[in-house]
């Protein structure tokens, strides 16, 4: 139920990521024991994603069920060379949760009570399952953006909301919000691809 910040050593990070990759690949071979292990290692991260975007525990649990069912069916298509295992899994969770949110017409404007706060800055210690070499470039590039651009992009990512909802939340015209985000994304692209 609580935040579980992780600050392990670099070596452990790499090992954890390699293990998770292997477990995900074995899940793709329909290995039930590997699938169970995958669930044990990743359910808190994926449920955290579903809970924040859905805003309700019951709905988030239903979405999480769909997420792991999808993972079971599609793990065979996972290509370790193209994405880290946690990014692949978390992207599925985020997209499923957003689908649920849009389908249910959720327009939550108040903060979600149950979901823990997200740290405002880059993680001081890299998180267990994300590769060290890639963990900081986006954070660094986000830090170079104007406040409005950075906050809007972060909110869009963590809340799974559209331009219309973003604009509504901070009471700016839709065009202004689009301008912030588009200019922010364009600058991010330059920074990331530099």
């Amino acid at each position: 139920m609580m935040d579980t910040p992780a600050a392990p050593s670099k070596g452990r990070d790499a090992a954890a990521r390699a293990e998770l990759t292997e477990i995900l690949v074995r899940t793709g071979d329909e290995d039930r024991a590997a699938f169970r292990e995958l669930y044990v290692r990743t359910n808190a991260k994926l449920f955290g994603i579903c809970l924040r975007i859905c805003g309700e525990r019951e709905a988030a649990a239903d979405v999480l069920h769909d997420v792991y069912l999808t993972v079971w069916k599609r793990a065979g298509a996972y290509e370790p060379s193209r994405a880290s295992p946690i990014t692949w899994l978390a992207t599925i969770a985020r997209n499923r949760a957003i689908d649920w949110r849009r389908a249910n017409g959720s327009r939550r404007t108040a903060p979600i009570e149950e979901a823990p706060e997200i740290a405002d800055t880059a993680p001081l210690a890299s998180e267990t399952l994300i590769a060290d070499e890639e963990a900081h470039s986006l954070h660094r590039c986000l830090d170079e953006l104007d406040g409005n651009q950075r906050d809007s992009i972060r909110t869009a990512f963590f809340q799974g909301v559209t331009y219309a909802e973003l604009a509504e939340r901070v009471s700016v015209p839709l065009g202004t919000m689009k301008s912030w985000v588009r200019r922010g994304l364009a600058r991010l692209r330059e920074c990331l691809e530099a």
């Binding site: 935040d3 808190a44 449920f47 869009a156 559209t162 588009r182």
Partner: protein, 238 residues
């Protein structure tokens, strides 16, 4: 079609916008069509998913409620139970007389399911009308037929051409929300019976389009179509 850059000079970052999830309505539909039509655009969306994925590192963890994994396991094991119909299905379709059903039957009869048809026992008329679609090739190949029973939430599809090795054929619905939702993978070389996710089932209505794309083995890794459409057809009531 409206130029999504409109009158201002904002840069075109629609791949990033799609990955971020800020688009809705027509803008999202336009971007999703570009994913299907432009391989470079699809790659760009995937690259952005990777960049943004770095933010998952700071996403707080919350332990999942008890029992979710057990539900997932039951769902994995359930298709066998779901696949055994409590009443004959294709004969129920055959009992219908509308033109749409007649057109569909050409496909059903010409492309029978692998398993022998069950003996036509009492035909139960469903409470909600069935939806059917003839899904025709956009270039070459054979058409397939789909029948959706809203009362049971089950979608049946006749046997499709087997995809190339290492590829899967995935069925999508594009309905009122104008965005593709996966209905599942087609069984290679045989008929398919699936219970699509609720989000996708909501889009299954008369007028909705069913489309088949060729995807990496196991289906689109992104949850959105990444391959070109090979078969397409609209749902109608019978």
């Amino acid at each position: 079609m409206t130029d999504i850059r409109t009158t201002d000079d904002l840069p075109d970052v629609s791949a990033a916008e799609l990955a971020l999830g800020v688009l809705d309505g027509d803008e999202r539909a336009v971007a999703l069509r570009r994913v299907l039509a432009e391989p470079g655009f699809a790659q760009s969306v995937e690259a952005w998913r990777g960049y943004l994925g770095q933010l998952f590192a700071v996403w707080p963890e919350v332990a999942a409620p008890e029992g979710v994994f057990e539900r997932v396991e039951r769902s994995i094991d359930a298709p066998h139970a779901v696949a055994a119909p409590s009443r004959p299905f294709w004969p129920a379709v055959a009992g219908l007389t509308s033109l749409a059903a007649a057109g569909l039957l050409v496909f059903v009869v010409a492309r029978p399911p692998q398993a022998p048809l069950p003996v036509p026992a009492p035909v139960v008329v469903p409470a909600q009308p069935l939806l059917v679609a003839s899904i025709a090739p956009t270039a070459k190949g054979a058409a397939i037929a789909a029948v959706y029973d809203p009362a049971r939430g089950v979608l049946r599809v006749t046997a499709a051409d087997t995809p190339a090795a290492g590829r899967s054929t995935e069925l999508w619905v594009i309905g009122a929300d104008k965005t593709p939702h996966s209905l599942g993978l087609l069984t290679p070389g045989g008929a398919t019976s699936v219970t699509p996710a609720l989000v996708a089932r909501r889009q299954l209505a008369p007028g909705a389009t069913l489309a088949v794309t060729i995807e990496p083995s196991g289906g689109s890794p992104t949850g959105l179509p990444t391959g070109t459409i090979v078969l397409k057809g609209d749902l109608s009531q019978v």
